[in-house]
Symmetry: C2
Subunit: 365 residues, 2 copies
């Protein structure tokens, strides 16, 4: 698994943004393409909540990545031209240190002894990767969803590290509606008695809680309009109500069940809880009280903010506000609102709309 | 409790719309005002999923009802002029027979032996009330949310019983997005080990499942816009992250917790499951395949369809479709789209917008 994965290890430890200290961290990443002679063609890619660093296939790992259509030779982020680095978020469970990792001080998994995770920590861990590669003048930093939050945090923590920024279906701060959904997802996991206050047996994790949380995730990632067209009132099987009055009779119920089952077992519940909460806590304007002031510090030459009109988790008005806050002297800012019907997930699904937009950014510069 | 409540009892039994038979049923209701001499001033009011028949205060029960602002002397549905009857839905737990009621054949609660509940059954139980009162020529039938579905079912089952129809934030059939949300709510309750396949101890019900389901309900009943203005990123108490990383730090989390706690214990979990599923199964066009054909059968002279633009559970496009389907020769149909920001719950909250609309319907005729 993950044959293309590389690591940066920080043995000196890592001070967390909201307090707390990790005695050592690993940051997992993958790369595509090669740095150019001037070392100015690197693109740092942050992920959403659940993916690994495997954004695209490569010679070392030919399995399709989570953004296969976007990254590669001849793709919108063309790896013949750019050196692309994707990092697994700190706090996640695909190689980077997180609540499921072993605390070297105890020999046991951190679990809930892991300090409060901030999006800023994910950004700082990403910075350690680019520093280790000697690439402190990035062409750009890019991320969808939580990855866009990480990219924004990166630009405020390291205002001179990137010339370009692309956020997709993201936000400069969490709004209460998204907080409510994520809070409920966390509560579902915590209410599962198998969770055991985070000390669950790895062979017997809170599967029910994770399944419920994933289903709510999928509801919040898509749109009513898409599902109306896709599922309508179609029934599974014979098309009438099954003997079990609470069975998954409707196609949409069966669809959620199938997808949730795949997710359960592939993601560590405590890692999910920490990453989810990190999004709620995120507010780029926290320090100065103003998003625009924070983002004004970054020496970005170009920024692009992309959103989907049907996204209700990271709604289009937040994209527009973010674009407004990015406006700054000598900075070119573009706001792109796409009429995709797939909701928050559009950037993973509606590639015919998202590819040209990302292409236009990376072709030009 | 419920001193104003009256009952109709059907000792001959009740045949359910989707099969199954109840050997006897009670239908609880309350009334306001008096029938006129022509017996043509009766208004039948169906409720949403969770309320009782106590829509408004009265001399017998001065406690405020769930639609206190809408029903009463001088209110939009003016009880000096109209005789208003509100029924507790069949399948609910506030007096009408439902899964929590005793099956006279066994002396035990029905629980999951209760037959599949359809919205049509709620409508038929309401018809038994008006029949018992000798009021088979209603001025109108009205209902918000699930109550609007019941009102629509009533008009198709008894096409000559009402001259007017008002549906508010309702739908002629369930769409997959709403089905997905309700299906997940039911799964939360069923996943609670206290549910015990419906045989829970009444002193130890599936409280966690009910609390989670209610929270998801509240998320789906409101709107992101309202919460952004109301809660923003406000924190409970000292305004910083509490020691418990997964505590209810944000105001919106605390709000959900408080409201969900109130709901738990006031509603029977099995009743909730049955009513919720009845909404998913509802499709007024089921028989002929066409909503308009079904609604065309009713001899309605006037119909009004009201919706809130921010409602994503019963979205405005469904209201508009319903109004279109109601169009018929010699029938006056009005579609009212309100810019309320409180989502599906607007009809309970944004009274300044909803009152005049309902007033206009009832003042004129």
């Amino acid at each position: 698994m993950f044959p293309a994965r590389k690591f940066v290890r920080l043995d000196a430890g890592f001070r967390m943004h909201r307090g707390g200290f990790l005695p050592a961290i690993d940051v997992a990443y993958e790369t595509w393409g090669e740095p150019n002679r001037e070392k100015n063609n690197a693109v740092l890619l942050f992920t959403g909540l659940s993916p690994s660093a495997h954004a695209a296939s490569s010679a070392e790992d030919p399995s399709p990545g989570w953004w296969e259509d976007m990254v590669g030779p001849g793709r919108p982020i063309d790896t013949r031209r750019y050196f692309v680095i994707c990092v697994n978020s700190l706090g996640s469970c695909f190689g980077s240190t997180g609540p499921a990792s072993i605390d070297p001080r105890t020999g046991e998994p951190y679990r809930l002894s892991f300090p409060v995770l901030a999006i800023e920590d994910i950004a700082a861990a990403g910075y350690e990767v680019v520093k280790s590669l000697g690439l402190l003048h990035l062409h750009s930093v890019i991320g969808p969803s939580m990855g866009g939050m990480s990219a924004l945090a990166f630009c405020t923590l390291y205002p001179r590290a990137a010339r370009g920024l692309v956020t997709i279906s993201s936000a400069s701060r969490a709004e209460p509606f998204a907080i409510a959904i994520r809070s409920l997802q966390r509560e579902m996991i915590r209410a599962d008695r198998h969770w055991q206050n985070g000390t669950y047996d790895l062979e017997d994790p809170p599967q029910t809680g994770m399944r419920l949380a994933r289903k709510l995730g999928m509801i919040s990632y898509r749109s009513a309009e898409e599902w109306a067209g896709r599922f309508g009132r179609e029934r599974v099987g014979a098309g009438h109500v099954s003997g079990d009055v609470f069975g998954n009779d409707f196609e949409v119920e069966s669809y959620l069940e199938n997808h949730a089952s795949k997710f359960v077992g592939s993601f560590d519940p405590n890692c999910y809880l920490y990453l989810s909460r990190a999004m709620d806590l995120f507010d780029i304007g926290e320090h100065s009280g103003c998003v625009a002031t924070e983002l004004g510090k970054a020496s970005l030459e170009r920024a692009m903010v992309v959103g989907a009109e049907s996204d209700f988790l990271f709604p289009i008005h937040q994209q527009e506000e973010l674009a407004d806050c990015l406006e700054h002297d000598d900075r070119e800012v573009e706001f792109v609102s796409l009429p995709s019907i797939q909701g928050h997930d559009s950037f993973l699904v509606d590639m015919d709309r998202f590819r040209p937009v990302v292409s236009a950014f990376y072709d030009r510069s």
